[in-house]
């Protein structure tokens, strides 16, 4: 085979990959694009809901620092059977301190409750069921499509598919542009050409962004599988030795002001955001937080202090760690774009929506091209696209309503049934088409 013929064969292969991978995963990519564009604003949306729906605000603190020790003590006293709790410190003045407690009432199921604490007056001003909150819906629908078994892996496969269509799209870009310059749109009334021009224009303009989103998304989605298969451990894990009975550990009083002072002394660059107290007998307090100006996942820097004298037991400063650790922790930040303020999030949302547009425009181009071969009207192509898009939106809205008003478990069950039925349907359809084409080819060759 000549060099030129080989190149043409390669282009055909890339085109086929782009076409089939895009067609079968387009609906998944579109859904993830839409949910992802909203998911980047989860902290802002949640902050707004806490402030306006729950009327939970912090008054100015007389000491200039967040006060929450008495409220935590009263919550521990009120719920002595709690499993664990996590204190989230406010990012901005006026925001409440949140105490996320996992409660297990006698004979009841585990419950995760968020308590809102006025950080100026040190008193509990509200609470909510964490699992049924909008913030949890927005995160879970993007991270695992609300499907508990392999939803996360399915999202990872979506990321992998986006990477394949983005890279193959780049490889066939030249062939499809021919003598057309960027960013020229051909003047025509042919809808297929209009959609094709926008598909190429937006695809190549947001290519790097989509590749980064796709690869980091693939890693984050497939992370549990990959970490198990490749024997990778989370780099900042630390297991403190058990030094006392769990009940005695729970009973130890923690002075949170002293904890924050010790954190400032031992790890000055750390901006504490999360605090936890051990309940397993290790008698430790863990402070997690960020270092200003670093592009890493939130709250990965860790300082573990002894509960008795607040001396450091373990410290994890990502700046001092090898490349592997930094690479591991950069994935989520690169995926959600929470390292450059609100403007960067807006850019992420805008560019993230391009992959949704590309799936829709790609599907329209496919249908309009097919209408040339088969006899169905142009209206049918648009109708089909509209029905698919509305079905996705309906799915997202129904799951949101069930999750908010009935509960996370029911929403997860409904989503699981719908997604798995759809998955079996798509795989079955693809298999049926493949077998049918093989049968037809064989039949023709015999004839």
């Amino acid at each position: 085979m000549s060099k030129r013929a080989g190149k043409t064969e390669n282009k055909k292969l890339f085109w086929r990959l782009h076409h089939w991978v895009g067609l079968y995963t387009g609906i998944l990519i579109g859904t993830l694009s839409l949910t992802g564009a909203v998911a980047v604003f989860i902290p802002e949306i949640d902050g707004w809901i806490i402030r306006h729906h729950y009327n939970a605000l912090s008054s100015p603190s007389p000491h200039g620092t967040s006060q929450f020790g008495q409220s935590i003590d009263s919550l521990i006293h009120r719920y002595p059977d709690y499993n664990s709790f996590l204190i989230s410190l406010p990012d901005h003045p006026g925001q409440v301190v949140q105490a996320d407690m996992i409660l297990q009432p006698e004979g009841g199921d585990l419950r995760r409750v968020d308590f809102f604490i006025d950080a100026g007056k040190d008193r509990v001003v509200g609470q909510r069921d964490q699992q049924n909150s909008l913030a949890n819906y927005l995160r879970q629908i993007h991270v695992r499509l609300y499907e508990g078994y392999w939803g996360r892996q399915l999202v990872g496969i979506g990321g992998l598919a986006l990477a394949i269509v983005a890279i193959t799209g780049l490889l066939i870009y030249g062939n499809f542009m021919k003598k057309q310059g960027w960013p020229k749109l051909r003047k025509t009334m042919d809808l297929r050409i209009i959609m094709a021009d926008w598909h190429k224009l937006l695809g190549i303009s947001a290519l790097a962004f989509n590749i980064v989103i796709a690869l980091t998304g693939a890693w984050l989605g497939l992370q549990p599988w990959l970490m198990r298969c490749l024997d990778i451990n989370t780099p900042n894990t630390f297991k403190a030795p058990i030094v006392m009975e769990p009940e005695a550990d729970k009973a130890l009083h923690v002075n949170w002001d002293d904890v924050l002072t010790a954190a400032k002394r031992e790890f000055p660059a750390l901006r504490p955001r999360q605090l936890t107290s051990s309940t397993n007998g290790s008698a430790t307090v863990t402070v997690r937080g960020n270092i200003a100006g670093q592009i890493y996942e939130r709250d990965i820097n860790v300082l573990v202090l002894s509960k008795t004298d607040y001396r450091p037991v373990f410290q994890y400063d990502v700046r001092a760690k090898p490349f592997g650790h930094k690479f591991y922790f950069i994935q989520e930040a690169m995926h959600f774009g929470d390292f450059g303020g609100l403007l960067l999030k807006a850019l992420y949302a805008l560019l993230g929506l391009t992959s949704g547009f590309l799936s829709i425009s790609g599907f329209v181009i496919f249908l309009l091209r097919r209408q040339k071969k088969k006899k169905f009207s142009r209206v049918n192509a648009w109708k089909k696209t509209f029905v698919y898009s509305m079905t996705v939106l309906l799915f997202l809205v129904v799951i949101a309503l069930i999750s908010l008003f009935i509960g996370y478990t029911t929403a997860s069950l409904v989503a699981g049934i719908l997604i798995n039925t759809l998955l079996i349907g798509v795989i079955g359809y693809a298999l049926f088409r493949y077998l049918l084409s093989r049968f037809n080819r064989r039949h023709q060759s015999i004839a």
Binding site: L170, Y173, G174, M177, K179, Q180, G181, W182, I204, S205, A206, L207, A208, F209, A292, G293, I295, G337, F339, G340, G341, L343, L344, L347, L351
Partner: protein
């Protein structure tokens, strides 16, 4: 002679449109995120760095628009140099 010249010009344009412009757009994506990050996390004494990054962003953006081969190459080289400097 004229046909050969036309062919060269056509090849030149194809090379720019099919390879240099996509490459510059690729870097422009990264540069845009980089500039926003730099401004959001700027500390005192970093004005020079911010100006240099902004200049690289403007250079890349205008090079994609003007599609001059040398300008595209230079702007890409400038931003790649700045990006390499960040990692060192």
């Amino acid at each position: 002679m004229k046909a050969a010249k036309q062919k060269t010009r056509l090849q030149y344009d194809t090379h720019t449109e099919h390879y240099l412009v996509p490459a510059a757009l690729f870097l422009l994506n990264i540069c845009t995120v980089h500039v926003i990050y730099a401004y959001a996390n700027a500390r005192t004494g970093q004005l020079g760095w911010l100006l240099l990054l902004t200049f690289a962003w403007i250079a890349l953006g205008s090079a994609v628009w003007l599609k001059n081969r040398i300008y595209l190459g230079c702007s890409m080289a400038l931003y790649l140099a700045l990006l390499t400097y960040c990692w060192l």
